[in-house]
Symmetry: C2
Subunit: 365 residues, 2 copies
């Protein structure tokens, strides 16, 4: 088992990464206030792993109830949030009861927001079952739901007590979702970890082939990168924004295509290319850097072009994103490979050109 | 103008108390990140005071939009929360925009929760227009909405940047609401401030007569008491719970009678008598103390008996309250006048007897 700590003073917490962790109830119990828990999962993950987790918890003397929600980004909404709150109240969950999210990023984000707001905050544990959730969304305390006018617009910061990444759960992960997770893994290399990026360029095929040792290393390294950024800037007043590299474009793709049509990681991959293209157009990256990024994303099986929404629609959707400052778009761009900066000064003409060049609107493929 | 500071490190904020403050836009502007605001008010308060506030803000160069919601405890619900989020998104409010609540406790609690969760937290200013909101709900960062199964069950801690208590707004406050506010004022005397309680016993008729100097003193003293408790225990891991004196019983009254039938302060007054009665039955207060409390509440024009819900219904409603610990009721009781303690050991028979003695179920009036 590998372990990474997110250093947040009295709210620090461990991320455990390894095989068979769903059955290690003691790891969870050690982080609970009282031996009482509600597990929230989804219709895809529950049939595969819910029994294993619940059986282990009950064996350790934990009073457990469960709630299974529909799966998918379109269910990261008010209805799912309300369903969790209703179930907590109907089951008389107390402020000391622990909410456990068993599933991917959607389950973790919605359940985490429900935990943040139930009785003004209850203990929360993340048990992510997708690569994307294990390397990104389960770590760092961002929780929330989507709104028809924008992704993650309603939410809260609420750190988990523990993140338990059981590598066994990746065995059943659909190929497309595994690849989508790699978009966030590659992101860490691009924004702050050149050494990791070089490792990825050597080993990306070992990851798509699900080699256990390679996956364990990539997840640990991703969590170390994210934990360091979160520890330095928990509530995104500065540095943490670099984690949104590719996400302003990506969120527009997700919303514009209709939530759930593009996976989050796929949209981030195409958004990464738009951000890289823009970084090149304002003179920060050279063309070879952009080609290098595109090559790695392609080898990971990820899309490198956004859908044909029309450039105006992209800009409209991006203006509803959270990264606005006095009416200007704040975008995360690459000063060079391995170094991201937040920049509000990119000319609109260049933003438009980058979107056009890296979307199917003007496909030259 | 009197000012009290809530000491919370980098998140400390001032409470200003005085006449004509709605027109002092500079006080608000000084606490905003950017000169952009959305004012949330209700249908009763908006016709009286919204123009005054908006005109002042615009005069100071602030870009202001407004949203007016229905009034009343039954509207402290998901629908109001959603309406605020929808309006913020439709108006392209940014994370740096300030949300201003102009109204009573309901408006402040719902708007505060919307601010806590919009883009994971936006700046928030409280402009309370009822006595209850000025002495209690606007101070300390508790925000939230009700759920059919319990009051304030969904919410967050989100401290305001500023509390602006304009005494002018009390001129139009209905008599019944003024008296309801006095229940929370008296609470501070009972739980931690014997000197203030003695002052109230000398001056309560000056308060019901709305003497300006008396009101200003009572609001300032209440805010000082509350600010000290909040500074010592922001998220209610210990001491802060004493502020809930009378509230477990009171919440049961509010929910049992139907939200809005009893005003919050009225329910707290009757709940105060139940808590005092129970404190007497377990040997903490003597009978003369209980009579002294009843006398002051009566002089303030407040109810001293709960409605006839039936004792079982009271206990059922209280079991859904947030103050549960391993299945036992944690109640705030008085060790003596001026000193409250959280106690989970009161025998159920005594809790039942206290409810029966101080509700209309067994009225002996």
């Amino acid at each position: 088992m590998r372990s990474v700590t997110v250093e947040l003073g009295s709210r620090s917490y461990p991320i455990h990464i390894g095989r068979g962790l769903l059955s290690c109830a003691e790891l969870l119990l050690a982080r609970m206030s009282v031996p009482r828990a509600v597990v929230v999962s989804n219709e895809v993950v529950a049939p595969l792993y819910l029994d294993r987790l619940v059986t282990a918890l009950r064996g350790a003397g934990v009073d457990v109830s469960t709630l299974v929600l529909p799966d998918g980004e379109i269910h990261k909404d008010r209805a799912s949030l309300d369903a969790i709150h209703d179930a907590l109240l109907a089951g008389c969950a107390e402020r000391s009861t622990t909410l456990i999210a068993l599933g991917g990023g959607v389950t973790g984000d919605v359940a985490g927001f429900a935990a943040a707001t139930y009785q003004r905050g209850m203990p929360f544990i993340q048990v992510p079952t997708t690569l994307l959730a294990q390397v990104d969304s389960s770590v760092g305390g961002k929780t929330g739901i989507n709104h028809p006018l924008g992704k993650n617009m309603i939410g809260a910061f609420h750190q988990p007590r523990l993140v338990l990444a059981d590598l066994d759960t990746l065995d059943t992960l659909p190929e497309r979702e595994l690849k989508a997770g790699l978009a966030e893994v590659i992101k860490y290399g691009l924004i702050r970890d050149r050494e990791f990026l070089a490792w990825l360029e050597e080993n990306v095929e070992r990851l798509t082939a699900r080699e256990a040792e390679a996956l364990a290393f990539a997840i640990e390294r991703s969590c170390i990168d994210k934990a360091q950024v979160v520890a330095a800037d928990e509530t995104e007043s500065g540095l943490r924004a670099i984690l949104n590299f590719g996400h302003s474009f990506g969120h527009a793709i997700e919303a514009g295509a209709g939530y759930g049509v593009w996976l989050h990681g796929e949209a981030v991959a195409a958004g990464t290319m738009m951000a890289a293209e823009l970084s090149h157009r304002i003179g920060w990256l050279d063309a070879a850097d952009v080609a290098r990024i595109e090559s790695l994303l392609r080898r990971a099986g990820l899309p490198v072009r956004g859908p044909a929404l029309g450039v105006d629609r992209y800009l409209d959707l991006m203006s509803h994103d959270k990264k606005m400052e006095a009416g200007r778009l704040r975008l995360v761009l690459l000063a060079r490979i391995g170094e991201a900066l937040v920049h509000a000064g990119a000319p609109e003409a260049e933003i438009r050109a980058a979107i056009a060049a890296r979307s199917a609107d003007h496909s030259r493929q």
